[in-house]
Point group: C2
Chain length 235, copies 2
């Protein structure tokens, strides 16, 4: 039945992952995402399709697709007249998103306690340790990436594909906010402590505790966002 398996389909490049056919749309989406997240494109700026397409050297068709992708990720907003802008969420909207993210992760934690393999859990522990072992002068971006990986690996351990999908969406929406939040050196200690608590509950496969710790962790993110806002208001 399964014919293509007999063929030499094993052109699998590196990891065991699906090759995931590249297309101009996804590449453009990646490029745009980078531009937006690194603030090369300020929030709220209109994004005329043609200019963008020209800038990226592609036609409008795949660019439109890219904008659609970024729309579901929440990085691009469409006005009532279908003119795309870089999303500019208010603090309130960000907070609402974090609430949902929190619920998603806490579900992931619960599920991971019963569904994760021992290997997956130990990998989460590894990530936790890597973060703690990071030198104090390491870049904010480096710390941030590990932080993201830590959370993502918990979701992966839940073995719930749609959950992972949605979690990814919300993560993308909150990338900028979380990145800003993580730039404060003095937060690291706090973050590490909370990660430790999460890891501990996870290793014990204590679903209730894991969920609780994850909620607490995300909650402190919200509080931190408020602090940043007040600090910004002063300057």
């Amino acid at each position: 039945m399964n014919k293509q398996a007999s063929k030499v389909t094993s052109i699998v490049s590196e990891s065991g992952q699906v090759p995931e056919r590249r297309s101009l749309s996804t590449e453009a989406a990646d490029a745009l995402r980078e531009l937006i997240l690194l603030e090369k494109l300020a929030p709220g700026t209109p994004v005329p399709e043609r200019d963008l397409a020209e800038g990226l050297g592609i036609s409008r068709t795949p660019l439109k697709d890219a904008l659609r992708i970024l729309e579901v990720e929440g990085l691009i907003e469409y006005g009532p007249t279908r003119r795309p802008r870089v999303a500019d969420p208010s603090l309130d909207e960000i907070e609402q998103n974090v609430l949902v993210l929190s619920a998603l992760e806490s579900l992931a934690g619960e599920l991971a306690c019963s569904s994760a393999s021992d290997k997956q859990i130990s990998e989460i522990g590894d990530l936790d340790r890597s973060m703690r072992d990071l030198p104090a002068n390491s870049s904010a971006l480096e710390f941030f990436h590990l932080d993201m990986e830590f959370h993502a690996s918990i979701v992966a351990a839940s073995r719930n594909e749609p959950l992972a999908q949605t979690h990814k969406q919300y993560n993308a929406r909150l990338w900028r906010a979380r990145f800003m939040s993580s730039r404060q050196q003095d937060r690291r200690e706090n973050t590490l402590a909370e990660h430790a608590a999460i890891t501990k509950a996870l290793v014990a496969r204590d679903a209730a505790a894991t969920a609780k710790q994850l909620r607490k962790h995300l909650k402190s993110t919200i509080i931190n966002l408020h602090h940043i806002r007040s600090a910004d208001a002063k300057t």
Copy 2:
């Protein structure tokens, strides 16, 4: 500053809602959704773009957009070769989706307890009552629609836009499964009892109880799905 407010922008047609510009893509998406949910298009069948477009009397461009919309709703799947099919989720996948839906709704319930207006809560109570007052011979579809409205109104009461958005997505994915589940007349009693418990907790604005009842309600949906499967296996 705000110029357009001074103009006679009040061409708001009927409700206070945004007119929401129609486009061929969204119309096609609606049409296709209907076809899929009513099983006019069997799960797993390939969906060649050109034929579909021709059938709907539109070109491939807007149809492609429609397929994208239905993809994020989970009704259309893209194979590794970018050939679209009607999604055919396994029972296991459906269950995973229900788990996420459950977490979303229970969060919505919690938030509704603190954020909902009294009017919103009383409307939820109205819906609960409408369902109970339905005659026993009313159609499964009628009962089902009220059921959906009940859940949707709880989410709306949470006043969390992204949550509502995501909830809608998951609802769309699970439409068929939930519809099948709701066709069993003997489930009605059970559903009504659970709805009553949810409504009661909501009226009392007891966040913990609301969340708990919602989880329980969705959990019984999962169990019911298993029953349906076993029944199907026999026939």
